[in-house]
Amino acid sequence: MMNLSFARRSIQMHGVVTGRSNSMISITMFVTFMLMIAMPSASLVADETAESHAKLGTPATSAVARDAAKNANFSPGISLQVEIPQLNVSEYHRPYVAIWVEDENNQVAANLTVWYQLDKNEEGAGTKWLPDLRQWWRRTGRELDMPVDGVSAPTKPVGVHSVAFDRKEKLGKLAAGKYVLIVEGVREVGGRELVKIPFDWPVAEDKQLTASGKSELGLVKAVIHTDAKTK
């Protein structure tokens, strides 16, 4: 009897101790493992962000080249240089900018891009202020489930920003006709401005068009590209 009960107690104690130390070890291992996973991927994300920011100031040709490099089939339909002007204001926030194409009936023919605060900050989600891009919001923004792949992009600093849009992916649905390229910019505690560039589609030769804003947007240079394949 005595032996038996001792044995049982010993097994119980042993079991408890072993059990606890096992779980301690596994928690420690798990945390270490998680750290190992988390660290490299976090730095990768940071690198990617830094890289994409570094590219922002590059001229239009390299923007086309960059997009072309990403996608072998890339063929520019419209490329743009959009100037965000330096403003002498005490409180400056980067503007939200939407760029789209409308047909003659004010219908959105192509939703090219929208630059807004993609992440949450202390003032909440950046999507809260999207309706301030009033015309874009009314024409298309309110129908979208943000973020939209290939449309949503982060806000940009003061400077000239180059973007190129693939003719098939972004402008593939454009029938021949008259269109207006619209750049709308709105700034927190600032103003709102629209720059409109009418154009014909398609074009026989690359066509350069410019228009300028007066307050929130600077010079907008557009190149309407001819289809390289038909040349």
């Binding site: 809260k128 009314r138 309110r142």
Partner: protein
């Protein structure tokens, strides 16, 4: 004294849509919203000017908020102040919310031992509280809707399904899709049916900063439709009223119906 104040407060709510001196309204902080579960805050008041708080708060007893899915939602942080009432609403669904304060009931006056008596209530309490043999009895019935609309992301119309009582507004143009330089068209219903010949008064807010109300008058056509060409962006106050004889007690000969809506018109 308290009774008189309460009664006159009620009268203000009841008759203000017709009495041009006083305007009733609910006005949202903004009408087009986005982001995850945004908040809108709403003021409700009875005032001489638009949209300023300078007379009475609008009581929130009849507050009814219809969500985009057609269900009812409660307003939070309801508060009745000296000059205005306030409440908050979190927009958890995509689409259009209908925010209404509905006042309906009976108002009676009579003489008792040479003293004027005032009473308000509904058809059930009328039977028990107003003496059958009251002398010089005057009974008015009324139904008034004071409303506005707010939208998260794309506008929808489910919340605007008519309930079929009093005067209601149906969208032809969506009430949260109005831009200056364009025209807004709406249909008015009385008891769920298109109402021809209703006169609507339209006034843009910020009346303090101009010398006249600059009110516009439009009238519904045979389909119950009316159109407003918005001269400039702003918060607009629209009101109309009519009378019929659809009363809940025979002592009330006529019923007064009123409708007021606050609409935001944005710059192009």
């Amino acid at each position: 004294m308290k009774k008189v104040v309460a009664a006159s407060l009620f009268l203000v709510g009841l008759l203000s849509a017709s009495a041009h001196a006083h305007k009733t309204w609910v006005r949202p902080s903004q009408t087009n919203l986005s982001g995850p579960e945004p908040w809108v805050t709403v003021d409700a008041a009875v005032s001489n000017d638009l949209f300023y708080f300078n007379h009475f708060p609008l009581r929130l007893d009849g507050l009814k908020i219809t969500a985009p899915d057609g269900g009812s939602v409660e307003a939070t942080n309801q508060s009745v102040g000296r000059y205005r009432s306030v409440f908050d609403l979190q927009l958890q669904q995509d689409g259009t919310y209908r925010i209404a304060v509905i006042n309906q009931g009976l108002f009676a006056t009579w003489q008792e031992n040479g003293q004027p008596q005032r009473w308000r209530g509904n058809a059930e309490s009328f039977a028990t509280q107003v003496p059958k043999d009251a002398s010089d009895l005057r009974v008015t019935e009324s139904i008034g809707r004071i409303e506005t609309f707010v939208t998260k992301n794309a506008p929808t119309t489910t919340a605007m399904e008519p309930v079929g009582k009093g005067i209601e507004l149906l969208p032809v143009s969506h009430p949260n899709d109005l831009v200056s330089g364009e025209k807004g068209t709406f249909r008015l219903l009385v008891e769920g049916k298109p109402a021809a010949g209703l006169e609507i008064e339209v006034i843009r807010g910020e009346t303090r900063y101009r010398n006249s109300m600059d009110s516009m008058k439009v009238t519904t056509n045979s389909e119950g439709e009316f159109t407003v060409a918005w001269p400039e962006p702003g918060m607009y106050w629209l009101t109309t009223s009519t009378e019929d004889s659809v009363t809940s007690v025979p002592q009330a000969g006529t019923r007064r119906l009123s409708y007021t809506v606050t609409l935001e018109v944005l710059p192009e």
